[in-house]
Subunit: 599 residues, 2 copies
């Protein structure tokens, strides 16, 4: 088992230098989000996640959840930790104060969410799903439903779930068959089976609020005939007390590769006459409401990739600093700790630099969401929203793929011990494996990026990003530090490759859709690499500026940040041109061959 110590220093650096905390806290409604408040929250969250959640992580993995007669039983300690989590106010950090939340910007929320996911991903999923359900209710619930459910969910007294997938409807929600029958009292009876429902049942709270996609009797076929319903586990009486058990039951839980402590449920609705449900918003607009939340949920899953990679990095570093094997290749000193071996150092630096790059991109995106939410200028808010929405598939797809790679490196640093489950390194890798799948696979992120986010404004938002990257290239090139100039040169070579690939995609989007879709994931990887280097470039520039302010701040931290950015540029940026070649190859090699290609 390993300790977890939240990387507060890097988080604060990113908030100040990349996100622009000073600006965020000047936005209307975020006046309390001062740097002092940031320090206080990060320190307290670091303590809570490190001391309370992290020690339960391996226990949750080995013990897992059980389905018993009365429902799902979570691992030992889960209930108490959940209560402490809610008592600390962590569940509703970003939710409106009017409903019991703290009303803090996502710029704060993202750091706390990262910590929770690093400390104990399985545990953190419950709150994440509740947050998604809260966002849905805020978007489309009636005032009556809001009054009954929102505060309970924001404080964490009740949790929420998202019920999309069915056995035959995974990525393709058009195939959803669950149905809802209108009742005389304005409510509905919901029938159907949902699978892969995270925390679909558990024993931590006395009620669970299921949000369920289902079809009304007269609904059109396909995705335009799906409505969203609120189906509580227990009905709620007029006085707010709990009433009858609703006809929504967990019938089995999955035996999974990872996140063992997060119960993944099959939920049966309406096996005994119908589950009482309430329509959210308008009929047939369910998918639309889901998509409003989806961007935020995807940012959260991207963050999980970063969180697990950070945890794996901390564990690998701790091991490498302790484990002694072999001689120092340069000095010849015998029996040195393995962090002195060049390839272990390379792996640790790959881990560190990729985590820091993805963290900066994710936090930057959270900042854009805050600006889009609270900004003063409507035009700027719209541009910030588009920019955030452009970045989100990059954060989700790129950071989760990174998370798998980096947690794998974490095992590799441990050598044979990494393969032994007691070590704990393997759990991070197993846990990470779901992140490129749920909330939309990497392919779906890539398609979202090119078919929606790029295409909807014919690359206009992409142009904004290109302009920002180019500005960073200029600043790096104009630096007096040769290491920053070198970064500028690499980024300056990568950017045109990204631009050229983008133009290729836009030009071929209609005529060569098969090639464009073949190029989608390679394009996503490329975008991830450039955006990561862009952020690391900004970070290096900021660090260099701080170093010039004599005697200010943490000299070692700033020097390491510059070295880390340079390492990222050397190891990751060269791949951008390779991805460009692959993108523009499209599906040329297999064009015109049908499914007999695999015979």
């Amino acid at each position: 088992m390993s300790d977890y110590k939240a990387p507060v220093k890097d988080m604060r650096f990113v908030m100040d230098e990349i996100v622009g905390l000073a600006e965020i806290s000047s936005l209307p409604g975020f006046e309390e989000a001062t740097p002092d408040m940031a320090d206080a929250i990060l320190e307290e969250a670091a303590r809570f996640t490190g001391e309370v959640l992290a020690p339960l992580n391996r226990l949750g993995d080995t013990e897992g959840c059980k389905l018993e007669a009365n429902g799902v039983v979570t691992p030992a300690g889960w209930k108490e930790a959940y209560k402490a989590f809610c008592d600390g106010g962590w569940n509703g950090l970003g939710s409106p104060a009017a409903f019991g939340g703290q009303g803090l910007p996502e710029t704060f929320g993202i750091a706390v969410k990262e910590m929770a996911a690093s400390a104990n991903l399985s545990f953190s999923l419950c709150s994440m799903l509740t947050g998604g359900a809260v966002a849905a209710l805020l978007t489309c619930a009636s005032d009556e439903l809001k009054a009954v459910y929102l505060e309970k969910m924001i404080t964490g007294a009740w949790t929420g779930t998202m019920n999309l997938t069915e056995p035959n409807a995974g990525s393709d929600l058009a195939l959803i068959r669950s149905r809802a029958e209108p009742q005389a009292d304005g409510s509905y009876r919901v029938f159907g089976q949902k699978i892969f429902i995270t925390y679909g049942d558990h024993d931590m709270t006395d009620n669970i609020v299921h949000l369920v996609l289902a079809r009304l009797p007269d609904a059109p076929a396909g995705v335009r005939g799906i409505s969203l319903f609120l189906v509580p586990k227990f009905l709620v009486n007029a006085d707010g007390s709990l009433g009858a058990r609703n006809d929504a039951h967990c019938v089995s839980i999955e035996h999974k590769l990872g996140i063992h402590a997060s119960p993944t449920c099959v939920l049966a609705f309406g096996d005994n006459g119908g589950a009482v449900g309430y329509l959210l918003g308008e009929a047939n607009r369910g998918l639309e409401y889901m998509f409003i939340m989806m961007n935020e949920a995807r940012l959260g899953v991207g963050l999980q990739g970063i969180a697990l990679a950070e945890r794996a990095y901390q564990q690998a570093l701790a091991y490498a600093r302790e484990r002694k094997q072999g001689r120092d290749a340069v000095t010849g000193e015998a029996l040195v700790t393995i962090d002195r071996h060049p390839d272990v150092r390379r792996m640790l630096m790959l881990m560190k630099s990729r985590v820091e790059a993805c963290r900066a991109v994710a936090y930057y995106t959270a900042g854009l969401l805050d600006r889009a939410h609270a900004g003063a200028d409507a035009g700027q808010k719209q541009r910030d929203l588009f920019l955030a929405e452009f970045m989100i598939p990059i954060v989700k797809g790129g950071s989760t793929e990174m998370g798998i790679d980096v947690t794998s490196l974490g095992i590799q640093v441990h050598g044979g011990m990494g393969f032994i489950e007691e070590t704990g390194a393997a759990q991070h890798w197993r846990d990470a494996r779901i992140t490129t799948i749920y909330e939309g696979t990497t392919c779906i992120q890539a398609n979202d990026l090119i078919l929606r986010k790029l295409a909807r404004d014919q690359g206009a938002t992409a142009q904004v990003v290109f302009g920002e990257v180019a500005a960073t290239v200029r600043a790096l090139s104009e630096s007096e530090r040769p290491e920053l100039q070198a970064m500028g040169q690499r980024l300056g070579t990568a950017l045109p490759a990204w631009i050229e690939s983008t133009e290729w995609l836009l030009a071929n989007a209609k005529s060569g859709i098969s090639g464009v879709l073949t190029a989608a994931v390679p394009y996503l990887h490329m975008a991830t690499s450039v955006c990561g280097a862009w952020m690391m470039g900004k970070a290096a520039l900021a660090a260099a500026a701080r170093l010039q302010e004599q005697g200010q701040g943490d000299v070692q931290f700033y020097r390491n940040k510059i070295a880390t950015a340079g390492f990222y540029a050397d190891q990751i940026l060269p791949q951008v041109e390779a991805w460009a070649a692959t993108v523009m190859a499209g599906d040329a090699a297999i064009e015109g061959i049908g499914t007999e290609l695999f015979d």
Copy 2:
């Protein structure tokens, strides 16, 4: 659970067109290794592995091994399968006929080993380890020991183990502490604890032959003071019957991420007065003997990466051909099988092309070993041996890293179902994770490649490879087929990048060892990519030639081979230039910073 059907067609193609089976079977001693014999063996091995070993794979994963009072108990069916395996003669396929083996070339053996590892990696490890021990005995055992042990091990009546690692001596064998005390009768008493001993105990045979690295009392410190001992589980009487239980016991087995059915043992030698052992070869040359076998064992582990990737590919393909989701992006047809979606097709093609490329490199290397073993010309034999030894770290490091990537893609193709253990896709990924670690980590392979294989002849063997690749580039460029010309162009761009990187490494090997060692793994990836493309280029040329021989052979197979080679060139080869940039960056970004880099 998934079926396994050995890719006999591709194996035979590679044997004929890449390895040159006709030439191999003309070598002295290999006269029986005819194409007809190849067909017969491959068909029978395909049947046995598909029908007997493959169905036990998932069962072995879930049931695992248990340590009971009398030792390790293997999963249900293991004993019977092992007996059938040995009865079929599969255990001694490549071993000398004089000791009960079949004396067939490694060109045959590698295909059978691939099938066994695809069907059931955990099961196949027992025979693989025995093969390593047999190779050691053939190299350095006295005639007396050979007479007692070899035939039993070659027929599989007894199995073998390799005891290198100790708790503080993993990659660094200089730290070995196990010791051997000479006895008056010429035998030794061995004391010490060994960890990570594959099939260190089991219930499939009545004896186990441990090969153990240990130090003699007067041995020099470090790796030059290690000797190799044979320590049987049961002593063997003069008449060949089993005698007393030796003082070598399994004290625990590991709880691992994967290969659950392969018992990974902690073995205690000499807890009760000393384990009787026999010195193999000369004192203090133990490590040297181990290294003789190591090349072969590493080829075998590289093959495991290929085997698991092939199995994962077959399973993903079967799922993709069945699972229906979404519309065809080109025709708009509703509810199509997902193998028609461009990104699923991309993933399947990545899997297929990378497996085929690595298979061709591995089999080519096995052919070189056969030539080095049985060739007529001493000079050519030496050149073939050096070439094989140059390729082996590329096969081991490259194919196992590929195996992790490709089994991960196998999960991804399954979407959410891939994360559910019952699906079986996750097991391949978990099983694959050990392959980049055991028999020398990827870093150790990369260091072997650059510090030993490149440096020992100052790149002369590498020049031979470069020449061969250049010849393939020329042949591709001269083809009348535009798709082959395109491949030639990509390979023709990649080759100079590899050459330049090689020159950089050779030039910096002494002055900048830290940078060179930082570049080692990136260099290995680059070598893997170029060698894979070289082999796929040769395969495409052969396929094109067969297609021109009107009416000959399997037209669809040859067309697919060309498409697969082209896809590999488009997706993988562009990365070579990126790796070159990374190699030649060395450790510039972090040079001069100590371990405070991670503070």
